[in-house]
């Protein structure tokens, strides 16, 4: 029997190598194996024979673990392996990422030279900024996912279309719509990157959730890179200035190239570190959800008691747009890290408090905003702020409704996830509408 235990332990160690299987799954499989062995033993087989037959019946573990991976793609994002696999995989593909990063840097420098930035600030430069960088990110993923030629065209088409649309529109001088385009175009193109990221198909809801995870991790890596770059620049200035080097001129070159290249490098880091460390976005979410819930609940009470609701202006609506975006991010990243089968816990309740308070606050703001638009009429900025607010409001209201049903046991987490992944295109469409429809609607003012 001792021999049997060591054989089972070996088998277990082998099975545990598969990244999509966690400890519980291996426990479950081991339990199955032991059952099978016991039964075969009872039928008269020796220990060794029973072990061999049981392992054989379990089937090809590569196929099984692939099936697990398909079911639990979220787990590929975390390190769930024991000490057996301590050795970190060497991040591969760095050269490729570096080439794409360098290409983005070169393009942004060229555009900058043509624009005469930072001496001058031509608006076409700001408006097109994301078009100088994001095509390279899309191309990086298209190559990495080995897309078919047709999918390459589908990836490229929105970029070409966007480039044409935003550059043939005759914006007025100091145009509000032009600023709105500059703000919304990165969002639109960010969603375009989802297509190559998801391997040339937008249908899989699990892959959509993977893209959500990617954006969260990417953002964190980008901020870290920016911080590191900032420290490097400050030290460079401190060291070289006494030597008479004009650091400002150096920064003029380094900053845009770094900012553009960082986009690709951050994406590469997310891709290659995906299996190495616990994701950071969900950890930060865990940390901040209770704090935000507390702040929002207090704010809802204060606003309701003092009746501040009547005196909102447009700036406040923008603040609330930002607030709803943050709340949505908390909801999404918390969800992206959840084991789908775990039951509701206290974090879900706290999250619901945050969402409900945010909705209450927003309803107050929105009421006064609509009243003001009745008085003052629509402007591009007001329309954009209001539209974004509505898009977010509908999403969070749906999420709140479904999570109440989930928490009371009348619905499943799966439904809630579906709602979010189904809703994602709405954000893309709204941003696209602001870029394409809003400017002509307001006469490019």
């Amino acid at each position: 029997m001792e021999n049997m235990d060591s054989q089972i332990a070996e088998w277990r160690a082998y099975v545990a190598h598969a990244p999509a299987l966690n400890g519980h799954d291996v426990d479950e499989l081991e339990d199955h194996l032991r059952h099978q062995i016991a039964e075969l033993n009872a039928a008269g087989l020796t220990d060794d024979e029973a072990f061999l037959v049981a392992v054989k019946r379990m089937g090809d573990m590569d196929t099984v673990s692939r099936e697990f991976a398909r079911e639990h793609s979220d787990r590929l994002w975390k390190q769930l392996l024991g000490p057996a696999e301590e050795a970190l995989p060497v991040p591969s593909g760095w050269l490729e990422a570096l080439l794409f990063a360098a290409a983005a840097a070169v393009v942004i420098e060229l555009a900058r030279l043509i624009a005469g930035f930072p001496g001058e600030h031509p608006t076409w430069f700001t408006r097109n900024l994301s078009l100088f960088v994001l095509p390279f990110l899309a191309a990086y993923f298209a190559r990495k996912r080995q897309l078919e030629p047709r999918a390459w065209f589908v990836t490229a088409a929105p970029f070409v279309l966007a480039a044409v649309v935003i550059n043939v529109y005759p914006y007025d001088a100091d145009s509000d719509t032009e600023i709105l385009v500059a703000l919304h175009l990165p969002v639109v193109l960010g969603f375009v990157v989802a297509f190559p990221y998801m391997g040339g198909s937008l249908r899989s809801h699990q892959r959509r959730m993977d893209f959500v995870r990617f954006t969260g991790e990417w953002f964190i890596y980008y901020v870290l890179i920016a911080l590191g770059g900032g420290v490097l620049m400050a030290l460079t200035a401190g060291i070289f200035e006494p030597a008479g080097v004009d650091v400002d001129r150096v920064a003029q070159w380094v900053l845009p190239a770094g900012a553009a290249g960082g986009v690709i490098v951050a994406a590469w880091l997310v891709e290659s570190k995906q299996r190495v460390v616990e994701n950071m976005a969900p950890v930060l979410t865990m940390l901040f959800t209770p704090l935000f819930a507390f702040m929002l609940a207090c704010a809802a009470v204060v606003y309701a008691v003092t009746e501040l609701g009547g005196a909102f202006d447009r700036d406040l609506l923008s603040v609330f747009d930002a607030l709803l975006v943050v709340v949505l991010a908390l909801v999404l990243y918390a969800m992206s890290a959840r084991e789908p089968t775990t039951a509701a816990n206290w974090m879900d309740w706290i999250q619901l408090i945050a969402v409900a308070s945010a909705l209450l606050l927003d309803a107050m703001v929105l009421g006064s905003m609509i009243a003001r638009i009745g008085d003052l009429g629509f402007t591009p900025n007001r329309t954009a702020a209001l539209g974004l607010n509505l898009v977010l409001l509908v999403n969070l209201a749906g999420a709140a409704f479904l999570s109440v049903r989930f928490l009371t046991g009348r619905s499943t987490l799966h439904r809630l996830e579906r709602w979010q992944t189904t809703y994602l295109p709405v954000f893309a469409l709204w941003a696209a509408a602001v870029v394409v429809v809003l400017p002509p609607l307001f006469g490019f003012s």
């Binding site: 519980h24 799954d25 426990d27 479950e28 499989l29 339990d31 199955h32 032991r34 059952h35 099978q36 019946r57 379990m58 089937g59 090809d60 573990m61 196929t63 099984v64 099936e67 697990f68 398909r70 079911e71 639990h72 789908p340 089968t341 039951a343 619905s411 499943t412 987490l413 799966h414 439904r415």
Partner: protein
Amino acid sequence: MLAILSDGESYGYAILKRVRALSAGELEWSDGMLYPLLHRLGRLGYVTTEWRTPPEGRRRKYYVITDAGRAALAEHQRQWVAVTRALNDAWPGSGALLTALGEA
């Protein structure tokens, strides 16, 4: 699998034995493949899971069918009956098909 679980909660190995017995060995796939399938039912909310330690032995994961699971099962049964009826009419001389299914 849902049909098996609708008879009462069960765990992996016992479910597999039922599958083997019910199909008289004709429906057989490698044992390991059972688990990703069970987990999928869990994600869709058709079953819930619970770890329990029976008095005599090892910790074991039990699967329990939910109301959503029963609803899905009923829907599948309805579809299968419809398919069987259609095939029954289309293939002359196989009148035993429906009888064998016991008009589910």
